[in-house]
């Protein structure tokens, strides 16, 4: 099936999310839609899927114009979508989720569950998915849930499958399986629209690449284009993808985490007997798939949660049992993983956000009142230093872009002398330009001799920053490896494979992306 978008325009108030976008997806091709966060990719796909009404433009299926009043119409026209946040009901079985909305029924409106199971089984077997139709979706790992989404789309005879940032939640090995599935689907004649901002993946699977920036198509590229070329198309200027950094000058050990264990409300062990050290002047990255205890680990260090066992010693001082305020006063800087929720107060001005943890000390406090002039001055200085693009320091933080909000958080946390710096997902959802800036600032902080902990689910980020890497899986440390470790080894460890075994497995079975890495480094050495 051929799918064509002509002049699609979608406005939200004054914001033009999509500005006359043209896109042609030929039958049986993998078409990558590349763009930064906020470039308008997801809006475009929601228009295509009938979720939003376009303000202008038309959609053509096999050269005939169509109109979608809702997702039901889009599905009927053969368009299937796998959303970034899965559209699955957690308490339903796989079969129930797959047939929801077009259930096979027996008499009296009763669902024919046998038919539903058969439908799942048939597609699952055809592509070797190995999904149990009777499994409860909430019990499945993320990769399997994604396959359920794909089965759901295919069972409705989707001829064009839209994958919205499908690799964001996957381990590298799961990503590899997904790439294999995409190739299989293509071979079976299904067209795929692959939405992403990850250059590496685009080059590995796409037949054609369309790049959009600020709601407009800015060009198309072939998959053999260089990564830097794609990046500059996407960002609109040339960018350096790696981080320039000297080897770490690790000093003495500053932070010692020993036998730390944390239980959640249900009594499940979220952090399980974790021990590691961080030295002055080194970056330790905690790698792992989302939800394997990293969040709890950082929150315990900060004092937001109390552990059931273990200790956290910073420069000889025990942090466990102290309040957050005391921990901050001990010299810990913290960038939370959810910046809009925990990093900034959206309704406060930029200036106020910059002193959230400094408001009660000199020079900002004067007795029981604030010194507005000092707050203002501080804000003027910090916004320049950290390149925060804001109309004024009195603007509400909520009106800033994600990248600028993150710079505000960084500016605040780095504006006092630090003995430890912790950043959780420091660049999640940021554009390439901001990522570059944030990474440089983190490396600068390290070079002044501060011990740094980075928590990241992005292997690219871990590899770009880490001097040492702590890999976590289900609350435990799988292994501690040097920075620059092979990404396939890391990927396997993130799935819980012990280090020695991971090295062995990775040596014999490379993932598509890992393979690309090796080729690139071989070419360099030639």
């Amino acid at each position: 099936m051929k799918l064509e978008l002509r002049g699609i325009t979608k406005r939200f108030g004054a914001l033009v999310a999509n500005d006359h976008i043209d896109l042609v997806v030929e039958p049986g091709e993998i078409h990558a839609l590349l763009g930064e966060n906020g470039a308008g990719k997801s809006t475009l796909m929601n228009v295509l899927y009938g979720f939003y009404d376009p303000d202008d433009g038309e959609i053509l299926v096999d050269d005939r114009p169509v109109e979608f009043a809702g997702p039901g119409d889009a599905m009927a026209a053969g368009i299937g979508m796998v959303h970034q946040h899965f559209m699955l009901v957690p308490v339903f079985t796989v079969a129930e989720n797959v047939v929801l909305g077009y259930e096979p029924v027996k008499g009296g409106g009763m669902i024919d569950l046998a038919a539903a199971r058969r439908r799942v089984k048939e597609i699952s077997d055809r592509f070797g998915f190995d999904v149990d139709p009777d499994a409860m979706v909430e019990d499945l790992p993320v990769g399997a849930q994604q396959r359920v989404e794909i089965i759901k789309a295919l069972s409705r005879d989707a001829k064009v499958l839209i994958l919205d940032e499908p690799t964001a939640v996957l381990t590298p090995q799961e990503t590899d399986e997904l790439i294999a599935i995409m190739r299989q689907l293509k071979a079976a004649g299904t067209s795929i629209v692959f939405i992403t901002h990850k250059l590496r993946e685009v080059r590995a699977v796409a037949d054609r690449i369309t790049v959009i920036r600020r709601g407009k198509v800015v060009g198309s590229a072939r998959p053999d284009s260089a990564e830097t070329e794609l990046a500059s198309l996407m960002v609109g200027r040339s960018v350096s993808l790696g981080v320039d950094r000297a080897p770490a000058q690790a000093g003495e050990v500053a932070l010692q985490v020993r036998n730390l264990s944390v239980l959640d409300d249900a009594g499940v062990r979220q952090v399980d007997d974790v021990s590691f050290d961080v030295a002055r002047g080194e970056i330790v990255a905690v790698a792992g798939v989302q939800g394997n205890g990293q969040t709890e680990l950082t929150e315990v260090i900060l004092g937001l949660q109390q552990p059931v066992a273990g200790s956290v010693v910073l420069d000889g001082t025990e942090l466990v049992g102290r309040t957050v305020k005391q921990v901050l006063d001990a010299g810990v800087g913290f960038v939370p993983e959810d910046r809009t929720e925990d990093g900034v107060v959206a309704d406060f001005s930029v200036a106020e956000n910059l002193i959230l943890d400094l408001y009660d000390r000199a020079p900002f406090a004067r007795g029981i009142s604030l010194d507005p002039r000092k707050v203002q001055e501080n804000a003027e200085r910090r916004t320049v230093e950290f390149d925060v693009r804001t109309p004024s320091v009195d603007a509400h933080a909520g009106t800033l872009s994600g990248g600028n909000q993150q710079k505000v958080v960084l500016a605040r946390e780095m504006s006092r002398p630090l003995r430890l710096f912790i950043a959780s997902q420091p660049t999640r959802g940021l554009d390439v330009g901001s990522i570059e800036f944030v990474h440089q600032r983190i490396v600068q902080e390290r070079d002044t001799g501060t011990p740094v902990i980075i928590v990241s689910t992005e292997l690219d980020e871990v590899l770009a920053l880490a001097d040492r890497i702590v890999v976590m899986y289900r609350g435990r440390i799988v292994g501690i490896v040097p920075g620059g470790t092979d990404r396939d080894v890391l990927g396997l460890m993130m799935a819980g494979v012990p280090q020695a075994e991971a090295v062995q497995q990775a040596a014999t079975h490379h993932t598509v992306l890992g393979e690309a890495d090796i080729e690139a480094s071989e070419e360099e050495s030639k």
Partner: protein, 426 residues
């Protein structure tokens, strides 16, 4: 010992880590049974006797047991059940619903044996159960009403108002038409009207559902009380003397000893209740309507992406819920042949809400919880007549104490529909 527990960790390796074993339920079972043993069995004086009567066709069966030994035996059985539950929990086996059910029945009998000990008047078992079922009727309808709307994502706090509106309209229509059945048809319409207001505010104007529900309860109380004092009181004869629904014994079934008269010598409203419970139990979990309703209540966006109209589904289900509650309201007037009175539902709508939660949003659970509340309600009446050592206020409290403990986690994890109370706006 460890060999018995060995299979459990093996399963953990395959799936998520297993949560730690919670011994709350078995410990509570054991503690309550032990206290009962002390209060009903060991402490009371020996030598007294307890009599029960049961209604059977043509005659009354009466039997008498020695109080103290009977109570002790019953409490020991309860302790045995607690031990069983402990063992099952320890080995991570699931216990069926039979265990709490049998446990409750055994303890209730122990309580009765003690409470009626030495009284001249025997305890009428048949009428105790019959009355329990009867008192449970508005609770069952109310709980099912809440279930249908909450499963689709709309919190229905207005059950009380829907019962009251149903009671009002049933009384008036039945009086005007001189037909109790006409009243039975009018009642659901009144309930649905209250639901219509609920969805109009909750969905169209995205007002907080709990606030709308509370306001609607007050509104219905106000309107019905106003109409009662201005219109019904003066014209009681022409507007507020509803005929009573006739009792329709089902031939054959009604003659079964003990349960026959309890279950099958009832009015059509009770038979309708059986039908609604059974039909909903099947439809909610196995029909297309039920699957879509639950999808909308759990993950509305997912439902929307497969072409299900979220808000339309919610509107229809809430209207249906209101109709069910309205039907339950007919209990207060036409089912009893009583005139409508101000605020005559007396908070039954809120107890129905508790029954829905205790029943974990399932029709059969709601039925069981409502029967429990109905039983406690009626027990207090019956024991009051016979005269017992327990103050009636304590008896009245029991169902609510049970609810609080149950909802606080004794019956296991109670999970509400994930999206309930959250308006769906694209």
């Amino acid at each position: 010992m460890s060999a018995v527990a060995a299979p459990a960790p093996a399963r953990a390796a395959a799936g998520k880590p297993l949560p730690p074993i919670s011994y709350k339920a078995p410990i509570a079972y054991g503690a309550v049974a032990a206290v009962a043993l002390l209060l009903f069995g060991i402490l009371p004086a020996s030598g007294r006797e307890t009599s029960f009567t049961m209604f059977a066709p043509g005659e009354n069966i009466e039997f008498t047991v020695p109080s103290k030994p009977t109570a002790i035996v019953l409490c020991l059985i309860a302790l045995g059940l607690a031990a069983w539950s402990f063992q099952a929990t320890r080995t991570r086996r699931k216990v069926g619903v039979w265990l709490p059910a049998v446990y409750a029945v055994v303890l209730v009998f122990a309580l009765l044996t003690w409470a009626v000990a030495g009284k001249a008047q025997p305890l009428p078992l048949t009428s105790l159960l019959q009355g329990s079922l009867f008192l449970a009727v508005p609770l069952v309808f109310g709980a099912l009403a809440g279930l249908v709307s909450e499963r689709s994502g709309i919190i229905n706090i207005a059950i009380e108002g829907q019962l009251l509106a149903g009671a009002f309209l049933a009384a008036v229509v039945a009086t005007i038409t001189s037909s109790a059945y006409a009243g039975l048809i009018a009642a659901p319409i009144a309930g649905a009207l209250v639901s219509a207001l609920l969805v109009a505010f909750a969905i169209k104007y995205v007002v907080d559902q709990i606030i709308v529900g509370v306001v609607l309860n007050v509104l219905v109380v106000g309107i019905t009380s106003y109409l009662f004092s201005t219109v019904l009181k003066e014209n009681a004869g022409t507007l507020n003397t509803p005929p009573r629904l006739p009792t329709l014994p089902i031939p054959g079934l009604a003659d079964i000893p003990v349960i026959g008269p309890v279950l099958f010598r009832q009015t059509i409203l009770v038979y309708l209740m059986y039908v609604v419970v059974i039909v909903l139990q099947v439809l909610v979990f196995r029909s297309r309507w039920g699957l879509r309703m639950r999808a909308v209540g759990e993950h509305p966006k997912a439902a929307d992406t497969v072409g299900i109209k979220v808000n339309r589904t919610r509107v229809w289900n809430t209207l249906l819920g209101g109709a069910i509650a309205g039907l339950g309201g007919a209990f207060f007037t036409v089912a009893n042949g009583l005139a409508f009175g101000k605020e005559m539902t007396g908070g039954k709508g809120f107890i129905a809400l508790a029954a829905m939660i205790l029943g974990r949003w399932s029709p059969k659970g709601a039925l069981a919880a409502a029967l429990l509340f109905g039983f406690a309600d009626n027990l207090q009446v019956v024991l009051g007549i016979i005269g017992t050592p327990i103050p009636s206020q304590i008896m009245l409290m029991t169902p609510y104490v049970v609810t609080i403990f149950a909802v606080a986690g004794l019956v296991g994890r109670v999970r509400a529909p994930a999206a309930e109370g959250i308006a769906y706006v694209k």
